[in-house]
């Protein structure tokens, strides 16, 4: 059984500067408050479209992206707001996108499930489950052929491991030794279907044996553990020993999509995971360090919430796109 921590030992923090640790904390809080703010705007009727949120899964996005350089790339999914923020997209460009404005990261043409910013190393997310996996292999192929030292981290969920695209995409990366990190965020559910119903495997990382690559399952709510595993995988990829399959065990604190009340999640299971909230885990450990206290962490949250509210108000009041935008950018 993979060990799931109930506390991050403060010794684990010693290798890192407070600045680095506080940055990880702030990034996770930003994701949480962004998602909570968006959820509220949505339920209020202010925001159009649909949302698939990642509250509870902040450590996977932040931990992996912290191990990447700006010119490394990620691929993401319909549940991609956390990946986008962790890779460096701003709340502003994402809120603008969610309101369908041309000031959005995809000029209002993509929406929630297609967040991306090429300059920040994120291709527009792929909303078809598993669809981004072969693409990630192709991106890594380009890096290898062009002889850059870039790597790609490919995010997907437990549900995606059933798709043919998972098999084919990882096969290609494996046979060509491509610099790709395949990151499976196993939050125990593919939509409402529990993971033990879709596989006989105890660990999804055991799929790595089918491809002859290294696979590892770890606690996806321990952001430092995730960071370290990702950094190891990035090193391997940059030195030509990729790809790697990482399975990060985590949990969704919110519905699959809007208006999902999660009646299919057992209450003991929810209790267990909510007690292991990734932000609280790091927060408790941080407060054992000299010079960091609860008000300071609260302050981080308050600043982010205030910034969110301002940006949301501004986004809501942006002008609608011009009708001519309907037919632009079909072709390059």
């Amino acid at each position: 059984m993979t060990e799931l921590v109930s506390d991050i030992p403060v010794e684990n923090l010693q290798a890192y500067s407070q600045e680095f640790l506080l940055d990880l904390y702030e990034q996770m809080v930003r994701i949480r408050e962004f998602e909570e703010g968006v959820k509220y705007l949505f339920l209020k009727g202010s925001m159009p479209g649909t949302i698939h949120q990642c509250q509870g899964q902040e450590a996977t996005a932040v931990g992996v992206c912290a191990a990447l350089q700006k010119d490394d790339f990620i691929t993401s999914t319909f549940r991609g707001h956390g990946h986008a923020l962790a890779k460096g997209l701003t709340m502003e460009e994402m809120l603008n996108e969610l309101y369908g404005s041309t000031a959005g990261c995809c000029e209002g043409k993509g929406g929630s499930m297609h967040m991306g910013n090429m300059a920040k190393g994120m291709i527009p997310a792929i909303a078809i489950v598993g669809g981004g996996i072969p693409m990630a292999s192709g991106m890594a192929l380009a890096f290898k052929m062009k002889k850059t030292s870039q790597v790609v981290a490919c995010f997907f969920g437990d549900g995606a491991t059933s798709e043919g695209a998972f098999h084919e995409g990882i096969t290609l990366a494996a046979i060509w030794n491509l610099p790709a990190i395949f990151v499976c965020e196993n939050n125990l559910y593919g939509a409402s279907t529990r993971v033990d119903k879709i596989t006989q495997l105890e660990k999804l990382s055991d799929h790595s044996c089918s491809y002859g690559i290294r696979g590892e399952t770890l606690d996806g709510n321990d952001v430092l553990g995730v960071y370290e595993a990702a950094a190891r995988a990035v090193d391997e990829c940059r030195s030509g020993c990729g790809p790697v399959l990482l399975e990060l065990l985590t949990y969704r604190r919110t519905g699959h999509s809007r208006r999902d009340a999660c009646h299919y999640q057992a209450s003991e299971e929810k209790d267990f995971w909510f007690k292991r909230d990734p932000i609280e885990l790091l927060g408790r450990a941080l407060m054992e360090l000299d010079g960091i206290d609860a008000p300071q962490l609260e302050d981080i949250r308050d600043r982010i919430v205030e910034e969110f509210d301002q940006l949301a108000e501004a986004a809501k009041n942006l002008p609608e796109p011009d009708m001519q935008e309907l037919t632009t950018d079909v072709f390059a």
Partner: protein, 344 residues
């Protein structure tokens, strides 16, 4: 072609091979990805197009496992990172496997990114009925012409094949290029029974052919016959038969299936007032249906007769040679269709 320019006669397989070679020499970001395309001592793909290229380009002919969804997706990802891949399926019928990647990813990426991403990807597919049974015989252009963001072309001769492939490689958008198994002119063990001569004089100089243009290959005044791939060749044969009977047909190779070249087609239609569209593939829901509707909308006032389509019956491709021949439209059926509307 300029006077004094040297040329050589090449088949489609040979001219495609030249195009690929020249583009890979010109631009290091061009590479090929597909099954059995670069195996040393191998076939150069199922229709010999990449035969021998692995000697010069072993690092840029990527042989893949049998994983079309995977390697088309990979080609898309590589294109988004600045490479210029040429991905091929061994038979067009296999395009249905990477359909999600082509339609949901390649075609939509530029639009849904607000123009931030381009996908300079070429995809190649051999099509047509050739005695191999229903799953290696289809003409599947119809499924791709209605995909916004995807360009679709079809090459009927060696000159166009080379020029259009070059244009496709140089284009920054996904281009799906259909070729016909009976037109490759492959030799030896890979020769196809029933093959039609699609060779052309190929100039030594570099040239490209526009992706979005149809071509008038026979001028005429009484009827416009539109076709592509093998059917264009049959239309040309039919025009000779019609000429002997005093009917003057203008024959156009449609070449660009998405978008259609309504400028060239329109000039012809306004001149003749009569249109026959010939297509290999079931008559229902084919490319001809879209082309017919488009012609009527734009040039309806010039029409002297309703648009006539010659296509296959609505059946999967049968194996038995007699039945397969009945499935495939042929010059006599085109002649009959023209005669049907010439007196309208």
């Amino acid at each position: 072609m300029a006077v004094g320019q040297t040329t050589k006669r090449l088949s489609i397989a040979e001219s495609l091979r030249e195009a690929i070679t020249e583009e890979m020499r010109r631009d290091k970001s061009v590479f090929c990805i597909g099954e059995d395309i670069g195996v040393p001592g191998g076939w150069g793909g199922a229709f010999t197009v990449t035969l021998g290229l692995e000697e010069e380009f072993s690092d840029r002919l990527l042989d893949t496992p049998i994983a079309e969804l995977g390697f088309f997706g990979a080609a898309i990802g590589a294109a988004m990172m600045g490479m210029r891949p040429i991905a091929d399926v061994q038979y067009g019928d296999f395009l249905f496997l990477p359909m999600d990647q082509i339609v949901n990813n390649a075609a939509k990426m530029c639009y849904m990114s607000g123009g931030a991403v381009k996908v300079p990807l070429v995809m190649r597919a051999p099509i047509g009925a050739t005695g191999r049974g229903s799953q290696h015989a289809q003409s599947m252009e119809r499924y791709f012409i209605g995909v916004p963001g995807l360009k679709v072309v079809a090459v009927s001769n060696a000159y166009d094949a080379k020029g259009i492939l070059k244009a496709a490689v140089r284009d920054d958008n996904p281009v799906l290029m259909f070729e016909h198994k009976l037109l490759y002119g492959s030799k030896g063990a890979r020769a196809e029974s029933g093959a039609v001569d699609a060779t052309s004089e190929i100039p030594d100089e570099d040239y490209a052919v526009a992706l979005d243009k149809a071509k008038v290959n026979r001028e005429g005044s009484q009827v416009t016959i539109l076709g592509w791939l093998l059917m264009h060749h049959y239309a040309m044969h039919a025009a000779e038969t019609l000429a002997e009977e005093g009917i003057d047909a203008e024959v156009i190779d449609v070449r660009s299936l998405s978008p259609f070249d309504y400028e060239t087609i329109g000039e012809s239609v306004k001149k003749t007032g009569r249109v026959v569209i010939v297509e290999e593939g079931p008559i229902t829901g084919g490319v001809s249906a879209e082309l017919a509707a488009g012609i009527m909308e734009r040039f309806g006032e010039s029409m002297l007769a309703p648009v006539k389509r010659v296509a296959s019956p609505d059946v999967p491709v049968p194996f038995s040679p007699v039945l397969e021949n009945a499935y495939r439209p042929d010059p006599p059926r085109i002649v009959e269709a023209v005669k049907n509307i010439i007196q309208y």
